[in-house]
């Protein structure tokens, strides 16, 4: 190893591997990606767990997120302060939850959080409208948006409170054929 500077101690790497779906190499790669975002902010040496956060504006410039209409929501969901400032831990957490090997249940939970724009633990009509607007870049008319939102609610809302609770969402997404293949980001 000689002159190579250590980024993490072995214990840290082990702990990360226990807590995520990543291998050692991937964690190191994640760190380098994280560091690329803000080279002046993030140190190479992470052995003493520095408390550093990279703001949302920098995170969403990653090519993996750049084109995603929900990028802001994703980053906000995984940030500890809810404002989108990600520490390295949050960063790893985000890609771990979105990676290919993470189970459907976990993905469902985070997907729900992401689509819950106003964070009231329900996906209500406003959330749906926002989702739809982002998804179609606002190319649907007002009526169409309303119609689609009504339809979606009608389909998925099991308890009839005209908003989607987590169990509604889970029930709906558990049958979706594309969810797993589409809801993942490869780093």
């Amino acid at each position: 190893m000689g002159n190579k500077q250590t980024t993490f101690t072995d214990e840290q790497l082990e702990a990360f591997q226990d807590c995520t779906f990543f291998t050692r190499k991937e964690i190191l790669r994640l760190h380098s990606r994280y560091r690329e975002l803000a080279p002046h902010l993030v140190p190479l040496d992470y052995t003493n767990n520095p408390d550093i956060r990279v703001p949302l504006a920098l995170i969403v410039t990653m090519p993996e997120l750049k084109e995603n209409p929900f990028r802001d929501r994703i980053v906000e969901t995984f940030s500890e302060d809810g404002q989108g400032n990600l520490s390295f831990n949050d960063f790893v957490d985000m890609f771990s939850a979105l990676c290919e090997t993470s189970p459907r249940e976990l993905k469902t939970i985070y997907a729900f959080k992401i689509y819950d724009f106003n964070r009231d633990n329900f996906i209500c009509k406003d959330d749906l409208q926002q989702t739809l607007t982002l998804l179609t870049k606002g190319e649907l008319t007002e009526d169409e948006v309303l119609l689609v939102c009504d339809k979606a609610l009608e389909e998925a809302d099991l308890d009839g409170d005209s908003k989607l609770s987590f169990s509604d969402f889970q029930n709906m997404i558990s049958k979706a054929p594309d969810f797993l293949s589409n809801f993942h980001i490869r780093i």
């Binding site: 702990a15 226990d18 807590c19 779906f21 291998t23 190499k25 991937e26 993996e64 084109e67 995603n68 929900f70 500890e80 520490s87 831990n89 957490d93 939850a97 189970p103 249940e105 976990l106 939970i109 985070y110 997907a111 729900f112 959080k113 633990n121 749906l128 989702t131 739809l132 998804l135 179609t136 870049k137 190319e139 649907l140 169409e144 119609l147 689609v148 339809k151 979606a152 009608e154 389909e155 809302d157 099991l158 308890d159 009839g160 987590f166 169990s167 969402f169 709906m172 997404i173 558990s174 049958k175 979706a176 054929p177 594309d178 797993l180 293949s181 589409n182 809801f183 993942h184 490869r186």
Partner: protein
Amino acid sequence: MPRDSLITSEDDIDVGLDLAGEDEVFSSNEGHERERHRGKRRDGDGEKKKRKKRRRKGAHRAEEGEDEVQTRHERREREKRRRAKNDQEAKGRERDEEERVQTTSGKVAKTKKNIRNENTRRRVEEEEVEVEERLEKRKKKHGSAKKEEKKEDEGKQMVKEKEREVKKKKHKKVVETSSEQETSEEEDDKEEDSKDEEMRPECLTPEELEKLKEAVDERKKLIQSLRGKPWPMKKKLVTLRESQEFVEKYEGALGKGKGRKLYAYKVMMTKKWMKFQRDFENFKTACIPWEMKIKEIESHFGSSVASYFIFLRWMYGINMILFGLTFGLVMVPEALMGRPYGSMPRKTVPRSEETSAMDFAVLWDFGGYAQYSVLFYGFYNNQRAIGWLKFRMPLSYFLVGVGTVAYSYMVVIRTMARNANESGVGDDNSFNFSWKMFTSWDYLIGNPETADNKFASITTSFKEAILEEQESHKDDNIHLTRFLRVLANFLVLCCLAGSGYLIYFVVRRSQKFALDGLENHTWWERNEVNMVMSLLGMFCPMLFDVISTLENYHPRVALQWQLGRIFALFLGNLYTFIIALMDEINLKREEEKIVKFNITTWEASLYNGTISENSTAPSITINPADVPRGPCWETMVGQEFVRLIISDTMTTYITLLIGDFLRAVLVRFLNYCWCWDLEAGFPSYSEFDVSGNVLGLIFNQGMIWMGAFYAPCLPALNVLRLHVSMYLQCWAVMCCNVPQERVFKASGSNNFYMAMLLVILFLSTLPAIYTIVTIPPSFDCGPFSGKNRMFDVIHETLESDFPAWFSKVFSYASNPGLVLPFILLMVLAIYYLQSTSKSYRQANVELKKKLQTQNEENKKKNKRAALKAQMDLEEARKAASQAAEEQKNNNASLQGQEADEEENYVSSHRLYHGKNGRNPPPMNGDRQLLASRAPGPRTYHHGNHGASGYLPGFSEPRMCRVPSLQRH
């Protein structure tokens, strides 16, 4: 930090999602907490006699608290700061919540004041009390983090909770807690702890031990499942460290006497095993090739194009294993230990071909030296055991052939099963819009152009869905479409028949050429069969594409038709080829008979001749190249397949270069001097044809499976081909293709491709097995020469290499009396499984139905509740107004107000029902519509006119239930 984690988890429940999973986590955490306490108490118990030591330790700690080492101090400072922050946050949240509760309760109280709705208020009060309690508890906990007394209280509480623990411990100072919250001290204590541990086991009762073990196991399970928990990373890390410490600490205490050592050993081994597993996993993922390439493609083209490359990689893996099998167990042993080249006729180029054996044209056709090498069946000797290892060559050859097929079946079926498990059962269309909304964005996309296309396609799909919803069936001219579709299918059938005939014709012609002698013909005539097959494979799909525009199907349906047609074409071609090949095999066998007869006469003449010339007869040597030999149909079949693969590969690559690259170059550079926009207009850049490429790959694999028995080099060739096409196609797709305009789902078709692969596997092993079982092998080439059938090698091995009883058992086992019942049993098992699966499916459907009705019930109930609330409100208002009337006798103004309110109510009701009426749930159609509409006007009616007394409140539910009863 148990306390911290407990608090955060509670906060999660309050602030974060109210998930079942989290609840469970919470409870389990609490469980841990409890277990911990128990453990600690036990600690105390164990240390009954060591109070002195304890005290000393305490003193030591106090000392340490006062003068610490610099680093430790810092760390602790940080720790404290963090905790303080946490506390603050938590307190802030508490305050928020308190406020919220107050406001809501206030609101509730305000609205309910007049209604005298005792129930709700009581509930609210209860809630308040509950919240109060919780707050109280939390405060207590916070306090206890610092103060000893409160900890005592809590400890007592714990005791209360678990009364089965009867043992009283006066010195139940849970001093450990504070120490555990600070890891630095924990480290310090470790030495002493380990000393304690040695003493502890004797003091533990078996049941306590059992509990401790449970706790440890639970922790271990927690560590295992940690990565799947929806917690923030920090919490995960903390929990991990804590659990690891716990396990570390108490694991040693488990086991007693003799068992203890064993247990420790076991624990150590599991740890080592885990470590090994992790390293292995790391190694395995590091070994997966082309990860970055595929990722790049994914981000450019989305998951559907990438799925092709992942499929290609998977295929590559399978072929690697097949190659390893044939290479390691067949080719290498024969090359190393078998007789060398030139030692016997089958391993020598015949005299007539010697002059041209090294020509490139011949080698390219896999004739000459290539034909008489390990690459083909004919080279192998029928010697039972070769080399100093006594390697059973013919047996190995046979088993590898069988193993290849068996392995392929296993892998394909296993992958299919896994895919089926993974992809949700998206059979019903009940979540059309929600799925579109939540799962249609491909998170892998990272390229602006693709993203634009994706946005556009999502928008169109929404618009289409809306249209479909609004006017489900609007066919302009059904007769014309029908006619066109029939016409299209007719044309396609013509194409298929034509291509089949063409191939048959060409193969027949090539046989004639072969009889004449290949040298007399041009290159085209020699390679006609393969070229024609490749060309057909290239142009027919395009033709089908053109034809399918006639049909006017939805793109997804059109894609399926297209796939089905190409599949039929390829299959037809392949089978025509095989049938033609069978003819050729029969011809060769006729030839073989003649040759065989000739050889006996030749040998006789030779023998006679030598005898007449020289009396010391047997020592004469004939160059093996001069010995006449049979045509060896197996090698011929192998050669055909190898040639087919080669020409197929070449066509693919050339199509790629011309169709994609050249086109892209032309479009790009001619665009500067052309009269219309080439990039946006007619030629444009090509899109990546996922389905066509996948089909090509599948058929290629089918040919490998078919021919691998007769040409052991085929898997090697295929590995090479796949390797090259991985790089070539990756390059081509990145450099000259544009993202698809209509992005299709990848996952839905995944198992579809697998099913195709399975069908091809079956269809391609069928002829191979047929030839192996029915046609006797050539008499003078290959590992089975001289045998009646190829599988006789098994009998031979059984008889000569295994003890007598084994072959006896085998013969008993293989007699029809046993085999038939076994097959019967299998059939019965299959039948049973199928019927159970059918019944499960039925149950599933039933449940789904039930769920739907439940869902409707629920919706109705909610509606009813809303109505009732409205009614109650109305009543209350009336009562209030009446009271006001009595009190103030101010009639006029109040009535006006009431009328206003009434109107509001009416309009709101109208809105409500109007909404429902407009969007009936899709599953029940009209009846549902009726049912949901029916109660509307009636209740409204009641609400308006039957205002006095409680009547409406009572009658309303019944009125509502009537339609629902009718519905059932």
